[in-house]
Each structure stands twice: as structure tokens, then as C-alpha cells.
């Protein structure tokens, strides 16, 4: 009763999703212009954007996965572990002598086994998601601890399966997923577009999506309203797991290998992009569009800086600084 109810709606209104999206568009354009100005000949090359279109989707899908976990006020720190494990299990599948034989024979068998390997990878992601979801929704372990723990387990399993070195020797069809083209656009980019559309529709037009937003907004009220919170949270981590596995497939397809410690830097970048994209880490708010815009902004920034031969470590620092600046702007905007 001692809170000040009259200030709250105002803050909410100023933080309204459209203003946040508009701000992201402005930031993206600014970065684009700045990078073009600083690298007059090199930035605006087709090759540059093409290479972004191959690298961006893995991180983008991981960021969308992170956003989904954050909708209910959670987080999934196991996404990279799940991605690597899924890719490694697929790699192990390709090492089965019978599979190798069938692939060696060529023809339709290659495609069939590739599809099978993708499905196996997705199942690994789903299983990992179920484990995370059960720990969080049923045992009520807080998400940050649960997924930190399972992330270690998945990474450990991946190490055991590979014995340390990278798995190589994926078939050509697998590499195509990460390096091929459909209608002139990178295959991974198509995957990102499809995933983004499906998740966007799922979040706004389905019971699951609306329930997740409501749970994240007020978990107590969700219980009183009869939302099956546990089940919905379980589903959300299953979705996160499957998306992580998709990212794992793209990553291993692009590098034509799978390793237990690939993409370690992706984890915190995914958190950063989700938050930059307007996702409220406390839950209740998040849009796919925002995450995509934040992703594009950061990819443009790092590619521009790379062209300027800035060290990768420094680029990480610039990203961090960028996050702090945007959060500060959001805060100041909400204070008006």
C-alpha cells in the first residue's frame, strides 16, 4: 500500500515496446553509417555482408533461445553446451560404420542420413531442454543455477564423447547446411528467418506464448489465474533446448567439425543481445524483432571493427561497453 501506483504506468508507457524498437532501429542505422564512414572502401562490400549472413544465424538463434528463457524471468546458461553436444552426437552418428558405408555409396542415402542426423541433434536439444525444464519447473531450482549445472554436464558429456579433439568428417550435405545457398541467400540465414518467424508467431499468437509473458509479468498472479505455470515453463525450456541444437547444427555445418568447447563466447553474447533487444531479464517482455535488430547492430559493429583490424578481445570490450550505454539510455529515457 505504500508504493506509488501513479508513477508505474507512466514508466511502463515510456518503456513501451515500440519506442524500444524505434531506438534499436536508430542505433543500427547509426552503427551502419559510422562503420561505413570509418572503412570507406571495405565495409560496403558484398563479401562483407555475405560473411555476416553465414556467421550471424548461430548467434541469432542462441539469442532468441535466451530471450525465451528470459520471458519467464529465467535464463539458460546451457545453450552453448547443448549446441555442442547436439552437434557432437550428430558427428558420432556419422561415424557409425553402417552410416559411413551408406554415405560412401552416395545417392539418396546421404540426404536421408543427414536428415536423420539433424533429427537426432534436435532430439538431443529437446532432451536437454526437458532436463532443464524439469529441474526449474518441478524441483524449483533457480534457472541460473540449474542451467549452469546442466551446461557443465552437457559440456562434460561432449568431452567424453569426443575425448577432447574436434570431430571432423561430416558429409558434404552437412556442410551445406552451414555453408550452402538457397536462392542466392546463405542457408543458415534462411534457417534464422524461419526460426524467427515461427518463434514470433508462437510468442504472440499461441496460448504458450501469451502464458509465458503473463507468468513472467507476475508469477503469483499466474498461479491464481489458473495458468499451468510449471508445464508452460517446461515447454519454454524444451523450445530453448531445440533452438540451441539448431544453432549447434549450423555451427558444426559451417566449420565442418564439432568440438566440446566451440563457441564459448556465444553464451554471454546471447545474453547481451537478448537484453539489448529489449527483453526484460526479470520476465514478461521480449520480442523477436528486438533481438534481431540488436543482433544486426552488434554484427555490423564487430565486422566493422574487424575490418579496422581491432583485436577480438577489444571488440568484446566494445560490445560490453555498448550494452552498458544502451541500458543507461533506457534508464534515462524511463526517468523522463
Amino acid at each position: 500500500m505504500t508504493t506509488t501506483p501513479e508513477t508505474r504506468p507512466l514508466i511502463r508507457r515510456l518503456l513501451g515496446s515500440d519506442a524500444a524498437i524505434a531506438q534499436l532501429v536508430v542505433i543500427t542505422v547509426l552503427i551502419f553509417v559510422a562503420m561505413t564512414a570509418m572503412n570507406p572502401d571495405k565495409f560496403l562490400r558484398y563479401y562483407n555482408f555475405e560473411s555476416i549472413s553465414y556467421i550471424m544465424p548461430e548467434l541469432g538463434i542462441l539469442s532468441i533461445a535466451m530471450m525465451i528463457a528470459m520471458l519467464t524471468g529465467g535464463i539458460d546458461l546451457s545453450v552453448v553446451g547443448v549446441a555442442n553436444l547436439a552437434a557432437i552426437v550428430a558427428g558420432v552418428y556419422f561415424r557409425i560404420p553402417a552410416v559411413q558405408e551408406a554415405i560412401g555409396a552416395g545417392g539418396a542415402g546421404v540426404v536421408m542420413h543427414t536428415v536423420a542426423a539433424v533429427l537426432i541433434a534436435l532430439l538431443v536439444g529437446l532432451a536437454a531442454g526437458v532436463i532443464n525444464g524439469l529441474l526449474i519447473a518441478r524441483l524449483r531450482i533457480i534457472p541460473i543455477l540449474a542451467t549452469l549445472g546442466t551446461g557443465q554436464i552437457f559440456a562434460g558429456l561432449a568431452l567424453v564423447l569426443t575425448g577432447g579433439p574436434a570431430i571432423v568428417g561430416f558429409p558434404q550435405t552437412w556442410a551445406w547446411i552451414g555453408t550452402g545457398k538457397i536462392l542466392g541467400l546463405a542457408t543458415p540465414l534462411w534457417v534464422l528467418i524461419v526460426v524467427a518467424l515461427l518463434v514470433a508467431v508462437a510468442l504472440t499468437r499461441t496460448t504458450l506464448g501469451v502464458s509465458l509473458m503473463l507468468i513472467g509479468t507476475n508469477p503469483r498472479a499466474a498461479i491464481f489465474a489458473g495458468i499451468r505455470s510449471g508445464r508452460m515453463i517446461l515447454y519454454s525450456y524444451m523450445l530453448t533446448g531445440v533452438l540451441s541444437a539448431i544453432a549447434g547444427v549450423l555451427l558444426s555445418g559451417r566449420t565442418n567439425s564439432a568440438k566440446a568447447d566451440f563457441g564459448a563466447s556465444y553464451l554471454l553474447q546471447a545474453v547481451l543481445i537478448a537484453v539489448l533487444g529489449g527483453t526484460n531479464p526479470a520476465g514478461g517482455k521480449g520480442r523477436v524483432l528486438g533481438v534481431l535488430l540488436a543482433l544486426i547492430a552488434l554484427m555490423l559493429l564487430s565486422s566493422g571493427l574487424q575490418i579496422m583490424r581491432m583485436s577480438n578481445f577489444l571488440i568484446d570490450a566494445v560490445w560490453g561497453g555498448f550494452l552498458v550505454v544502451v541500458i543507461a539510455i533506457n534508464y534515462l529515457r524511463s526517468q523522463k
Binding site: 501506483p5 504506468p9 496460448t207 509479468t217 507476475n218 503469483r220 498472479a221 491464481f224 489465474a225 514478461g284
Partner: protein, 497 residues
């Protein structure tokens, strides 16, 4: 030296377009026990926040010890000896009594190193001064409400309070605890500390206060010595109405009960409660916080897995094992705290309305948006929700509109048993009448059975056809018809220990 400790002169305060206070004056003498009365939304909380420097008034002047003080901020207010004890006490539940008491003093003195020996001494001294035995090493979170209140009072004294404002101090107390509190208050008065009670409980005001000020809709409508008032004149001043609301005396056709509860127990809180509700009945439950009334409601709504006993709907066993099961069987529960348990504040009114029927509004994989809009529009009209659009965040609604959204949510589920916990808490007088009318209509016209839990005894008396008094998990009295009067219920509550 002035006669008054603090004078608020012609204070005005607006929030956006809403006038919270208009030309209000309030004066408190040193060492007096003053009572500020008014309904919810009358401006009581606003004037407290003006007095304690949280709000800056738009108009008017604040005079302390005869000197105009200009702009007051919380630190200066504390410096002048003004201490406010809010309903939640603002204590640190995970710290001990001594720590809670010392912390404030240390902050005031600008110290940064903790002297445990001194902290203990200070705590013991101040508790002795109040005359209560509380272990300074006890964790505050483990104390009963009355104990927390005493710690809050002790903290105020340590801050050298000259005026202690207490916001609804007796709401959560048993009769005995109220008397103990009054003893402390009289003792403080003897030490020259003024007390401002903010309350709407008439009986207690009459008992303890020397002077009274009454607010209604942001204006002062009465003031004077307490001996010039009685219950009727205070009520009249608070509500602007003579209490002539016609009581709810429906004709309930004989027939089987809709809801029948026998031997319902929840370990530690509810003991063998029996209850039956027929369609069209509004049955009240009166009892203090901690009497088990909320746990009873939660049990009926499938939220107390440890419950035992029998619940029948239409004669068939229907004990809900989950909230979803309760909703499916037509039981609805409007919780006590609308803000934390009821509404999704930043989300749209539409989502707040349809949240409990999302599964029924699905077509294939997707939500049927047309159905969502249609059901929302239906409830907007039926509940007379005043909002610019269904997209408006629920957090923008006034208390009355928010409560109507809650009722609308449950009507959409096709509820037949409606459990209301504090149906008009935080709702202004005008809206209150509308909500009461809606509830009565639901009972008489739609044949719902309503269980109404409320702190507000007059609300129960006017809107219920039967009232159970609950204490320590049991129903200790049942009143109906002519015996259902405010005095009778207050007397029953008073005898409870």
C-alpha cells in the same frame, strides 16, 4: 512557542488530473492522540506522505513549532521528529531486533562501524522504555505482527520521534494485542510524544483518541474533540451517507446447496469447517487476519494440497486438487491482494480478462483472436470497465475498475461459486457501491453462490444474507437476519482471544 507541534495549512495536491487533496488543514498538538479517519481514497495516505516529506504539496504551507518550514523532505521530516509507521512496518525481516533498531540510529548519526555492545544496550533500553519483553536477538521475521509493530515503534522512539503516525495499526491485531498497543500509546503520550492514528475502525478510534479529523474525497469534512462524535456521526462524515443501504435479504428458494463443505481442515490453519452455499446466497466470513479465512478460501480454490475433508458441488464430490480443477468445476477466487496476486499490471486489460480461459479460446495451435476480442468486449460492457481501450495496461486502472476486471475474468470462466477476499479493498466509495451492486446481481440474477471475506464489517452486514465469524481456524458464530448487525459482529470479534 506555538500551541501546535505541526500544522498543515490549506494543503492541495494533484496527481495528473486527480485532486488527491484540496484545501486541507490538519493540526496536531504535542503529546495528543489524534485520529485521522476516512475511507479508502479519501486522501489519508497522501497527507501522511506530505507530512513526512515524501510528497511536496502543490499548495499550502507546513508549520512546525510555529515556524514555516518550506519544502520538507524525508530527512528533514525525520529531523523534526516526525516518524511514520506504515502497515508493512518497513523492517528488515532477516535481521534481528537489535540490528533493526541500531541500523536506523547509525544511519541517522552517520556512523559506519557497528558497535554490537552499544546496539544491544540501545535495544534493551528502548524496549524497556516501552515496557515489553522482546528478545533483542530474535529475528524480526519470526515475530508476530504485534511484535513487529512494537519494533517499529521502538525504532521511531530511538529516532527521537515527537510525532508517530501509525497507518491502520490495528488491522492485523487481535483484541488483546490492540489493548496492549493502546497501553503503549498512552504511555508514549505521557512521555510527550504525539500520536496520529490513521484508521477507519470507529470503535477503536472512539476508545483511544482525544481529537478527530475526518477526510472525504480529498477534503476535510469534520474535526473536533472526540467526545463530540459517536459512531453514527463519524460514519456520516466519512461516507457522506446515512447508512441506509438496503441490506441484502434475497429470497432463497429451498433446494439443495450448490456448494457444501464438511469437515474441511488445513493443518495448522483451518479446523473442521462446515459451510453450505445455495445459489443466490452471499455468505460473509468475518475474522481477523490469521483466523484461517484466507486459507479456507485457498483450500476451496484447490491451493492447499494438505487439505482434508469434503467439498461437494451440486451434491457430487468435487474437491479440487489444483487451481485448474477448481476453475473447471466453476469455482472462482478473487484474491486479497489485487496488485500482487490478481493482476498482470503492465499487460493489457484484454490479457488480464482472458487469462483463465486461454485454453478455451484456442483454435488448433493458435489463439482465436476474434474470440479473444469478442469475449473481452462482452466483459468490458458487462462490468462497466472505464478504460480507453482493451489494450490499456491494467496498471493504469483505478482500484474499482481493476476489481471489475478481476470479476470479469472469473465470469468468463463460467464460475458458479465466487469467493471474494476483501472485494473492495482500495476501492473508492463510489466504485464500491457499483461493485456491491454487481456482486448482488451476480447472485440474484445469475444464481451464483458468493462467499465474501472482508475486514469491512458494514460491507458484510449490508451485502450478505448470512455471516460466519471465524477464529483460530473455526467458525465460532453464525449470524443471519436481524441478529446480523455491526455491533453484534464487533462484539463477537471483541470477545475472541
Amino acid at each position: 512557542m506555538s500551541d501546535y507541534l505541526i500544522e498543515l495549512k490549506n494543503i492541495g495536491k494533484r496527481f495528473g488530473g486527480v485532486r488527491a487533496l484540496e484545501d486541507v488543514s490538519l493540526a496536531i498538538r504535542p503529546g495528543e492522540i489524534h485520529c485521522l479517519a476516512g475511507e479508502n481514497g479519501s486522501g489519508k495516505s497522501t497527507i501522511i506522505k506530505v507530512m513526512s516529506g515524501i510528497y511536496t504539496p502543490d499548495e499550502g504551507e507546513i508549520v512546525i513549532d510555529g515556524e514555516p518550514v518550506g519544502r520538507l523532505d524525508p530527512i528533514r521530516a525525520v529531523g523534526h521528529g516526525i516518524q511514520v509507521i506504515y502497515q508493512d512496518f518497513s523492517l528488515f525481516g532477516n535481521l534481528t531486533v537489535a540490528e533493526n533498531l541500531a541500523l536506523n540510529t547509525y544511519l541517522l548519526e552517520g556512523r559506519s562501524r557497528m558497535d554490537w555492545h552499544r546496539a544491544h544496550e540501545m535495544a534493551r533500553d528502548v524496549l524497556a522504555r516501552i515496557g515489553v519483553a522482546i528478545d533483542p536477538d530474535a529475528e524480526v521475521g519470526s515475530l508476530p505482527t504485534s511484535g513487529k509493530q512494537i519494533v517499529a515503534i521502538a525504532r521511531a522512539i530511538l529516532a527521537r520521534a515527537r510525532l508517530i503516525v501509525m497507518d491502520e495499526p490495528t488491522t492485523a491485531l487481535t483484541r488483546h494485542e490492540v489493548e496492549a498497543l493502546f497501553t503503549i500509546v498512552r504511555d508514549l503520550k505521557a512521555q510527550g510524544i504525539a500520536i496520529l492514528f490513521v484508521s477507519h475502525k470507529m470503535r477503536e478510534m472512539l476508545e483511544i483518541s482525544e481529537r478527530l479529523t475526518v477526510f472525504r474525497n480529498g477534503r476535510k469534512v469534520a474535526e473536533g474533540a472526540m467526545r463530540d462524535f459517536d459512531e453514527a456521526t463519524i460514519t456520516h462524515a466519512m461516507t457522506g451517507l446515512d447508512l441506509t443501504d438496503d441490506p441484502y435479504r434475497p429470497e432463497i428458494p429451498d433446494g439443495p446447496p450448490l456448494l457444501e463443505v464438511t469437515g474441511l481442515s488445513v493443518p495448522g490453519t483451518v479446523e473442521r469447517v462446515a459451510l453450505s452455499l445455495r445459489p443466490g446466497e452471499i455468505v460473509g466470513i468475518s475474522g481477523l487476519i490469521g483466523s484461517g479465512r484466507t486459507e479456507l478460501a485457498r483450500a476451496l480454490f484447490g491451493m492447499e494440497p494438505r487439505m482434508t475433508g469434503e467439498i461437494r458441488l451440486d451434491g457430487r464430490p468435487a474437491r479440487p486438487r489444483s487451481v485448474q480443477e477448481a476453475i473447471a468445476r466453476g469455482i472462482a477466487y478473487v484474491p486479497e491482494d489485487r496488485l500482487t496476486e490478481g493482476l498482470f499490471l503492465p499487460q493489457s486489460i484484454e490479457r488480464n480478462l482472458v487469462v483463465s480461459i486461454l485454453d478455451r479460446l484456442r483454435r488448433g495451435l493458435f489463439l482465436d483472436r476474434r474470440a479473444v476480442r469478442a469475449r473481452t468486449a462482452e466483459m468490458f460492457a458487462a462490468m462497466q470497465i472505464a478504460a480507453p481501450s482493451p489494450e490499456t495496461p491494467a496498471g493504469n486502472l483505478s482500484g474499482g475498475n481493476a476489481q471489475r476486471v478481476m470479476l470479469g475474468r472469473w465470469l468468463l470462466t463460467g464460475a458458479r461459486v465466487l469467493i471474494l477476499n476483501g472485494p473492495t479493498v482500495g476501492v473508492d466509495v463510489g466504485s464500491k457501491a457499483t461493485i456491491h451492486r454487481i456482486i448482488r446481481d451476480l447472485a440474484t440474477r445469475d444464481g451464483l453462490a458468493v462467499l465474501m471475506i472482508s475486514d469491512d464489517v458494514p460491507e458484510l452486514v449490508t451485502n450478505c444474507n448470512r455471516i460466519h465469524v471465524m477464529h483460530r481456524g473455526r467458525f465460532v458464530a453464525e449470524l443471519a437476519g436481524a441478529e446480523m448487525t455491526e455491533t453484534r459482529i464487533n462484539d463477537t470479534l471483541k470477545t475472541l482471544t
